[in-house]
């Protein structure tokens, strides 16, 4: 990332705190050296279940901008913001930025009940895994940075152009590589890849979890095993932080491959930026499809 217009002092830089490492990476790409970015949730842990620490509370307390998913993935966000006692980053505050704005959400539930597991009220919240949404997220962040720091609006716009330019180039490659495999089906541990599959023209309709957030049971695994064998599923996909034993068991019984995808930047060394996160996931999917 090239510095834009010289290195700014710490005092002049906007202090941006994001809930997830992916949001932080995009913000850093847009803001360059005009922003000091940090994130709360370590990408090595399940973003549904994060326990913010006092150091996280202090970061949000001092944030010039607090970026989050805007839906109900980060259920820990409310207590974190309450503890931080920074009125400007509370819901509706001028320094709070929910990123779901402008995103076309998938899997919006028609009815809500915990009998359906840990359903997400507004729809599937893992939207950043579709690079088309990555462009929308970047635009949203750029607009906010421009409004907070209009003096350097041109720098943020340049950052956005570089980010989306690189992403658009990579997207063309990914689309052409994935095109021959349109319609193929994977099995996933948790329903967190809907947007990635939507972009890739793939699908996942059966999950190791019998219901979202409910750990797999022997009975549910048997049903998945039957589905894998009947439909020639190329692989089971899951994030690195999901329990590995159920998929391993399934692989042992059916011979199906298990591939680990990344939910967030930094989850694995190969996913060190947003573009490389998507590239890694696409590469892993292709390795199973072309096997």
């Amino acid at each position: 990332m090239l510095p834009v217009g010289g290195i700014a002092d710490d005092e002049q830089r906007l202090n941006v705190v994001a809930t997830l490492a992916t949001f932080a990476d995009i913000a850093q790409s847009i803001g360059g050296d005009r922003v000091k970015v940090s994130h709360i949730a370590s990408p090595r842990f399940n973003p549904h279940f994060i326990e913010p620490r006092p150091t996280d509370v202090l970061r949000v307390k001092r944030a010039d901008l607090f970026i989050h998913g805007g839906l109900d993935l980060e259920a820990w966000r409310g207590p974190l913001v309450d503890a931080a006692a920074n009125p400007r980053v509370r819901p509706g505050g001028d320094r709070e930025l929910p990123l779901a704005t402008g995103i076309s959400l998938l899997d919006v539930p028609k009815a809500l009940s915990r009998a359906d597991g840990d359903v997400h009220v507004h729809g599937n919240p893992h939207y950043w895994l579709d690079p088309r949404n990555g462009r929308v997220i970047a635009e949203t962040i750029a607009e906010k940075l421009e409004s907070l720091d209009p003096q350097h609006a041109h720098a943020y716009r340049d950052g956005l152009d570089r980010f989306t330019g690189e992403l658009n180039r990579e997207m063309k490659k990914w689309e052409s590589l994935l095109a021959p495999h349109k319609g193929r089906e994977f099995v996933a541990y948790h329903d967190e890849w809907a947007y990635l599959f939507d972009f890739a023209g793939l699908r996942s309709e059966v999950f190791l979890e019998p219901k979202p957030g409910i750990p797999p049971t022997p009975k549910s695994l048997l049903q998945v095993e039957k589905h894998v064998l009947e439909h020639g599923i190329p692989a089971v996909v899951q994030a690195t932080f999901m329990p590995k034993r159920p998929a391993k068991k399934l692989a042992g019984r059916t011979g199906v491959r298990v591939i680990f995808l990344c939910q967030n930047v930094g989850e694995l060394p190969a996913a060190k930026s947003y573009a490389s996160l998507i590239a890694y996931n696409v590469t892993q999917l292709l390795s199973a499809l072309e096997d």
Partner: protein, 416 residues
Amino acid sequence: MKTNTCRIAAFVGTMACVLIPAHADETEELRKELSETRSALQEMEKRLENLEESNISEDNVVTRGVSSLNPEIGMVADIVYINTESPEDFEGNDKLSVRELELIIGADIDPYARFDSTLTFSDFEEFVIEEAYITLFAIPWEMKGRLGRVRPVVGKANPLHLDQQDTSDYPLVIQEYLGVDGWFVTGGEISRLFNLSSESWAGDLLFGAVEGGVGEGGTMFDDTRRNPTLYARLKSFWDLSDQTSLELGGNWLQGSSSETEDLDVMALAGDLTWIHSFDANRRLKIQSELWWQDRDQPASGGGHGHGEEEDHEDELEESEGPVDFRSHPIGLYVSGDLRLSDRFGIGGRFDYVEPINIEGDGGEDMGGTAYFTFYQSEFFRWRAQYQHVDFAEGLDDNRVWLQATIGIGVHKHALQ
């Protein structure tokens, strides 16, 4: 003539060899373009369909807008079977009970304040307002305030609700000194989070002033509400890595031993919490608190904090001489909780408490606890716990808890 015909045929043949492949290339290109356009159209249709599904009608916007102003409401239920050797018909002994039903209601009041409350019901205790406080966000110098009925932030166990404890009961030192269900009381707190040069360290300084008294069965302070209790806490937290953290806390309390005394009891407490996450699903937590008091009066009220609801005031009035008591009673616990997977966890706790008032041989309460937890889901937890306690009076007890804890609705307790 024949030659011209041959020439024309040769020319036509040559042109055909050139033009037909060129047309074929163009046709292939057009076919490809058409296919791409069709795919793009299908994609746009799908996105339109999704947008239409997620769009909200005018009526729903109004309804949703109004219902968005409703407070967050959740409920936590603690259903427990306790088997004990104690003959007391108390605290759910030897029966299945809805030990605690917490109704949690909270909402932002305005951009600068939030209200949270926990109303607690039980099938063997009276209804209590466990918490009902306003949190103030816009106090100068980055401070935060709480005003109302609170669980004072002293130590690690007391600020937490029963459903947040790693065990099925509070540590014995909390039960003995602060109350069977811990200490919740009306007053105010002010706090400030801060750090120095390192971003991996945070400090938190807190002061509180509340009405007198402790929780049910607690012995540290007298129940006279108009004699205030003051307290302070300094917390020091280290992010050792993204997997490991260490917290050390120091606590000071000053309260009254009787109706006629004023702020004559001082208590100091230290606490330590070390957490290490092996991976996303496995975690070890070690926690300990040590409490020490400086007092020159006996405990005037409360029970023993371990199930006996005796009123010592009558005993004191009827006693023929001064009550024998410890000037510097101490109490401590050490606990470990090991989350083995997303489904299972085990743990244990060691307790040691010196009752303030000395009875009989003047011994102390000492206990050991072991438990196993099964997480049916994020919202439903089962626990089996065994505890053995040797009481100061020479009695002992063996207890078994079988506990089901559930949460419905929106239920978010404050961060620890």
